[in-house]
Symmetry: C2
Subunit: 344 residues, 2 copies
């Protein structure tokens, strides 16, 4: 009897312990800050309020899980874009190999200028020349070959300022937003002006976003057979989608077919995506990242009172539209406790 | 003591009951046939073997969940396509409203012929005329208006033979394949020659496939603002992707960015998708539905020794390639116990 009693109370004690542990865990989860790299402020509060109002069952703004789509620009929104887009650096780095394969290009502009390595002269190349370089280095090869070359470059190339691979120059606060949204049933998409195939090479590893959730500037491919009758796809110099400006909502319609509930950008190239998102019924979260942290990252663009640059144009007009249309402007300096994951 | 004993044995009995119930449930699950509308035969066995070998953890052919992509043609593979694609019937049905809005078309071919309602004459219209009808009825309106019109039509229009909405003419055995694959971690996509926007209107409800997993023939859209400065997208008569033949693997690369592990089709329009799928490393399931059941559905095409039709061309050459490349040919007559869900 005594023995039985002891066992029973031991059992009860264990049960109590389990209940207590569960309560503790539940409380810990409730208290865990989903956005630890964000300072408390209007931006952080807007994100949390949006997630709570759209995912709480009895909320008047509850959004069905299937409808939960969030889209993110990449360059300048998820990772560093200054002083030059990483993909453009990739294309410039590919020029020597390209000229080796096609020697007739050595004395043709803009390849001739790129080969000199004169960064100042390269920076001055007009957009039409840049497009020639992009088409020549991003198309004309089998898809598998392109993927392998891009992967190899990403593993070895390093940013000049931080001396780290480009894929490490990802903003920790935005990684937390991606994870927080996904933990609440949102499907996260990249909607980038960058090359769709290029970003797909690393999107899963770097952002936890699978290739099928990357929408980007896309060229066509061509199906053919090799000498062993095996089919393969070749990247063609034929633009299918210019995923900038109005091309972003058009690309979202083409590739997703639903209007996002949340959209994140940092420049005029994202304006229409944010307008399109905000124009939907019910609560919509639209945010712009403002690069105002010269010390920890960069400060640039007219909204900063600084000269326009070729990348991430955050104009005063965009800033004014954000204020008028109640988009949230994120100050990297004020809203972000830390910028990069490697800064512990 | 006795009381305690009784309680203890009552507890043990309950525990035993729980264990027994669990074992029963587990066994029931294991024994539940995931494909009850399929007759036992090589086709059914190929599907089950493929799922087991690619999803069993210690299988040498285990496929990571993220890589599990399966693509399905729609017309003739998931639902009836004979004697005419449902979407073409939709376009023909739209012609009177189109001519009302644009009376100048009343005396212009091919609209003039369509307005006569003479089905024989309509069936004889050349492909170029059909394209004119498709562009005129599927583009030129805001995306939201198109969606609303297509939805309304799908709710009211009926097939002549079965006197049921087209969305009920879905093959029950293929619905089971979709569900079985999804239950095993496969992401199921429709890859159709039909209009991407059209199929997206009903894909979730009819197939459990969300709009973002529908790849189809796609026209561009144009972003603009209404008089209240609200942005909207208009469907443009500009072809972005012809999702037939080589366009299928090209569309898969554009919209998914991964090679499928399983692909299902029924005609020469699916040939390249199946080749592309089969050419991947490891086990790949490639299947063709053969329409050989004149009584329960239809029998048509050269592989049946019947004259070619405008829809779903299953040529002898395609049949030969299937045999050579070890694709599985599904006989509707022999492999399917029942055709439609409504046939209980």
């Amino acid at each position: 009897m005594l023995d039985m009693k002891r066992r029973t109370s031991a059992r009860s004690a264990r049960a109590l312990l389990v209940v207590a542990s569960l309560a503790f865990v539940a409380q810990a989860i409730a208290q865990t800050d989903p956005l630890p790299s964000w300072n408390d402020g209007p931006a952080k509060r807007a994100i949390v309020a949006f997630v709570e109002t759209t995912t709480t069952q009895d909320s008047p703004h509850f959004v069905q899980p299937a409808e939960r789509i969030a889209t993110f620009d990449q360059d300048g929104t998820l990772w560093v874009e200054h002083p030059m887009y990483s993909q453009v650096i990739y294309c410039l780095d590919r020029v020597p190999a390209l000229v080796k394969a096609r020697p007739e290009l050595a004395n043709v502009e803009p390849f001739k200028t790129v080969l000199t390595g004169d960064l100042e002269a390269i920076a001055k190349l007009p957009m039409s020349d840049l497009e020639k370089i992009l088409f020549a280095t991003l198309t004309g090869m089998p898809v598998d070959q392109f993927n392998a070359e891009a992967k190899k470059w990403l593993e070895t190339a390093k940013d000049r300022r931080w001396k780290r691979p480009y894929t490490e120059l990802v903003y920790q606060p935005m990684q937390e937003v991606l994870q927080y949204l996904r933990a609440n049933g949102y499907k996260t998409y990249i909607v980038t002006g960058g090359g769709q195939d290029f970003v797909r090479v690393y999107s899963q590893e770097v952002y936890g976003i699978p290739p099928e959730q990357v929408v980007g500037t896309a060229s066509g491919t061509k199906y053919a057979y090799d000498k062993h009758c095996r089919p393969f796809l070749t990247k063609e110099p034929k633009l299918l989608l210019n995923d900038n400006d109005a091309g972003k909502p058009e690309g979202i319609h083409l590739m997703i077919g639903r209007r996002p509930y949340a959209a994140f950008g940092n420049s005029t190239g994202d304006q229409q995506m944010l307008e399109y998102t905000k124009a939907g019924a019910g609560p919509r979260l639209t945010m712009l990242v403002l690069h105002d942290d010269a010390k920890r990252e960069y400060a640039y663009g007219p909204a900063q009172g600084l000269p326009d640059t070729k990348v991430g144009t955050f104009t005063q007009a965009l800033y004014d539209e954000a204020m008028k249309d109640r988009w949230v402007v994120v100050s990297m300096q004020k809203d972000w406790k830390r910028i990069f994951t490697f800064e512990q």
